[in-house]
């Protein structure tokens, strides 16, 4: 049973192995890298991208894409920022922010299902519109003077040096993992991405499954935004630009199939950690920052190539096993 479980987790194990190797290499290059403080920094760095990436993993598994998450992120930042500045209690503001994210994701889902738009185009449109709304909302200025009471909801450190935001990341990861792997809805997400027509003919409500995936994605983007707001202390309407691409990269490295049907929360989380470990490692050993982009790009391509090789190997293994079985 364990063997089967591990086998179906090949992809996550590979990313984990890559992560361990990466950490080992950087530790040899510079001993500072392996300190607990640095490890916490890596996870901290992975928090925002990780949460965004988990959200977009849902959408990608259904066979879609959400380019608007960086802008949902920005809207939530300025909106929640304004709320807390005007004295709304932090927890209520967080709740309202999450609802706002759900609404924006839900709207993306409506465009994709009810208007039957291609996800790329639909969310390209909302990406621009949401960004515009964030600017309109603040008149282009950042929201300043975020009260400490709000910032502390995410930045308070517990158990020594661990900020609450990291716990939020892991809480989201655990909840979404359970939803994706243990619930009927999770099963439906995979079924829609793997073969939409077959899912429909099996009695799966395809539209509802997709809309809910986009809503979850929007909700994740909202949480990422609210953590960013707490970390920075200002609500910048221009923030989050290009974050959707980092999130897609993390999901891809984690083994999420871009045309849908495959992917896990664990893989995506490891993908985000790998990217963060790489960035921090290059800072620690002093690689010029421009090269960091180049290396990140190479990692993404290698990960994608690895995916195709892995597919080939598993097919070959299947055929081999099948032959030996027939021979018996």
């Amino acid at each position: 049973m364990l063997k089967i479980r591990l086998k179906s987790r090949t992809r996550e194990l590979t990313v984990l192995a890559a992560l361990i190797i990466l950490i080992a290499v950087f530790s040899i290059l510079d001993s500072v890298y392996l300190t607990p403080g640095n490890m916490v920094d890596i996870i901290k760095m992975a928090t925002i991208n990780g949460i965004l990436a988990i959200g977009i993993t849902f959408v990608i598994i259904t066979g879609g894409i959400d380019l608007s998450i960086g802008c949902t992120f920005a809207i939530v930042i300025v909106a929640v920022g304004q709320l807390v500045v005007e004295g709304v209690p932090p927890l209520l503001a967080v709740l309202l922010g999450a609802v706002l994210g759900v609404i924006m994701g839900f709207f993306n889902g409506l465009l994709v299902t009810k208007m039957n738009l291609q996800p790329f185009i639909a969310t390209l449109g909302t990406m621009s519109a949401y960004r515009g709304l964030a600017y309109v909302f603040t008149g282009g200025w950042p929201v300043l003077g975020i009260p400490d009471a709000y910032r502390k909801t995410f930045t308070t450190k517990i158990m020594g040096d661990i900020p609450i935001s990291i716990l939020v990341l892991f809480a989201i990861a655990i909840i979404t993992h359970v939803v994706l792997s243990k619930t009927r809805f999770g099963n439906y997400i995979y079924s829609v991405g793997g073969n939409e027509e077959s899912a429909k003919l099996s009695g799966v409500n395809v539209d509802r499954t997709k809309i809910m995936s986009y809503a979850i994605c929007g909700c994740c983007a909202a949480f990422a935004g609210m953590i960013m707001l707490a970390n920075l202390g200002t609500g910048e309407p221009a923030s989050g630009q290009g974050y959707e691409l980092d999130a897609i990269a993390a999901a891809a490295i984690g083994g999420t199939r871009m045309s849908g049907g495959k992917g896990t929360v664990l893989g995506t989380l490891l993908g985000a950690l790998l990217l963060a470990a790489l960035k921090i490692g290059m800072i620690v050993v002093g690689v010029q920052s421009f090269w960091q982009f180049v290396v990140t790009g190479i990692i993404i391509v290698i990960a994608a190539y690895f995916e195709t090789i892995q597919d080939k190997i598993s097919t070959a293994m299947f055929q081999h096993r099948n032959r030996t079985q027939t021979a018996r």
Binding site: K182, G186, Y190, G194, N195, E197, S202
Partner: protein, 502 residues
């Protein structure tokens, strides 16, 4: 005079199946030669050998007395002047007519396509075919008949001497078909050799000179069309003992209660005024030619497509089925025709695919219990004799018959009482076919009701308690077992005259 095409002792195997068995056949220059046979008789395989799609076979092919062996379709077109007229679905709608016709063989000027020359050549051909559209027009505006003309223009563009048409009239209207036949006559008069594949016998009598009949990979006869009769051709086509496989072993169990009744169901452009009923414990056959609208009717009953009129009654009560979820609630399951694209999830293993339609049975406190899914899968692997009995294998890696059983298991896992099978034995080998027939009998023995859509006549006659025949979106006949005769069914399926009486 040497024959335009001669096949000598052609045999072709696919893994485990022999599809052509020592076929010897010659096609004269300048004749229209019909290639007839049921689905799976080997017509397409023979054409594919001629066109270079399959280059591995035993036996020889001669063109004008010269032995040839094309390694790919390009060689057949360039060296052999043999062209296949593809069905209209091969037209790329976003390109112009001229681009479609010349695709892959565009005249060039330097590095660029020489469009003036291309369109000039194409327009000459279109003029010869008496087409009203021009090479510069967008292909998107064409009707099905015009697209067929574009496909023929493509063959002429390649200066083909031999062209083959595979079911060219399948989606054409009557005037379009008449125009096509006119062109075929003219091409023949110009000395072109035409191989014509069709299931519609009246067409064969209208335009073909000779007809060769294939049956289970054997060439059973070549007849002069003028000297034969429709009955003789049908006898050659069906003269075999398949009904021994597709037969009922158990007694018939149809009860008078109507579990499903469909009244005046219509779907604009696909079918109209379709009424039928299904009794409890009945195996109801739906016969007809490919494209008669049977699949569309079933998809509409199942809620996968919207009806434009009519109603569906379950146990005598009107049911509003607007989605597949509604159908599931009403106890209707559908096993789609296209297994690979509609039947199962590519990335799911057998356990996942079997559980997909009945997930709520495996929930505990809202969570799906993997062990329950697994034991459900194992149960059906045993009862349906799924081979290899491996829950963790991806369904896409199973053989066709076993994939079909996995999809069947998916529906048996739910508690549906009406199961619609669309071409259940398509692409399934003979042994697995027999097993599927037994399963159908098992289902009705358990009190479920079954609809089988099948284009194979022996199959639908062998297993059905009652048969509806469809043609061009309408039900043309309802037959009781006493009337199960292939000639009769074919006649109704091809829009036979008798249907004027109802």
């Amino acid at each position: 005079m040497k024959d335009a095409v001669e096949f000598r002792n052609i045999s072709k195997h696919f893994p485990g199946v022999r599809v052509l068995n020592n076929v010897t056949l010659s096609i004269r220059k300048g004749e229209v030669h019909a290639l007839l046979g049921e689905n799976g008789a080997g017509k397409s395989t023979l054409l594919n050998i001629l066109h270079g799609v399959y280059s591995e076979y035993s036996g020889d092919v001669f063109l004008d007395g010269q032995k040839v062996c094309f390694r790919n379709p390009h060689e057949a077109i360039a060296d052999g002047k043999i062209s296949k007229v593809h069905q209209e679905t091969n037209i790329i709608r976003d390109m112009t007519v001229g681009q479609n016709v010349a695709l892959g063989y565009e005249p060039r000027k330097g590095a660029f396509v020489n469009y003036p020359e291309l369109n000039q050549t194409v327009n000459q051909i279109l003029k010869r075919l008496k087409c009203r559209f021009r090479g510069e027009d967008s292909a998107a505006i064409l009707t099905a008949g015009e697209m067929q003309m574009v496909a023929i223009a493509k063959a002429l563009f390649h200066k083909a001497n031999v062209i083959s048409l595979d079911e060219p009239t399948a989606s054409l209207t009557i005037p379009e078909t008449d125009a096509l036949f006119q062109i075929i006559q003219e091409l023949k008069a110009a000395g072109m050799t035409i191989i014509y594949v069709s299931h519609r016998l009246e067409e064969v009598f209208r335009i073909c000179d000779r007809a060769t009949i294939l049956r289970d990979g054997d060439c059973v006869a070549t007849l002069e069309v003028a000297e034969t009769t429709r009955e003789e051709i049908i006898r050659y086509m069906v003269g075999r003992n398949v009904s021994a496989i597709a037969s009922r072993l158990q007694e018939r169990r149809a009860q008078p209660e109507k579990v499903l009744e469909v009244k005046h169901l219509s779907c604009a452009g696909k079918f109209s005024d379709v009424s039928f009923y299904l009794r409890k414990g009945e195996i109801l056959g739906f016969s007809g030619l490919v494209g008669a609208g049977r699949t569309e009717v079933m998809r509409t009953v199942f809620g996968a497509d919207r009806a434009s009129g009519g109603e569906v009654l379950i146990h005598g009560r009107p049911a509003r089925i607007r989605s597949s979820q509604d159908a599931l609630r009403c106890g209707i399951g559908l096993l789609p025709e296209e297994r690979k694209t509609q039947g199962f999830n590519t990335f799911f293993d057998n356990t996942g695919n079997i559980a997909l339609a009945s997930l709520k049975r495996f929930l505990r406190l809202g969570f799906v219990q993997e062990d329950r899914k697994l034991s459900n899968c194992k149960k059906f692997m045993k009862t349906l004799n799924i081979n290899p009995p491996r829950p963790d294998f991806l369904t896409r890696n199973m053989s066709g018959g076993n994939q079909q059983k996995v999809i069947l298991a998916k529906w048996l896992s739910t508690d549906v009482e009406i199961l619609i099978f669309d071409e259940p034995t398509k692409g399934v080998d003979v042994a697995a076919k027999a097993e599927i027939y037994r399963l159908l009998e098992e289902l009705v023995a358990q009190g479920k009701s079954v609809i089988v859509v099948s284009s194979e006549l022996p199959e639908v006659m062998g297993i059905s308690d009652r048969i509806y025949v469809m043609c061009e979106g309408q039900i043309t006949a309802e037959l009781e077992p006493a009337d199960f005769k292939e000639e009769l069914l074919l006649n109704y399926a091809m829009g036979g005259k008798d249907h004027a009486e109802n």
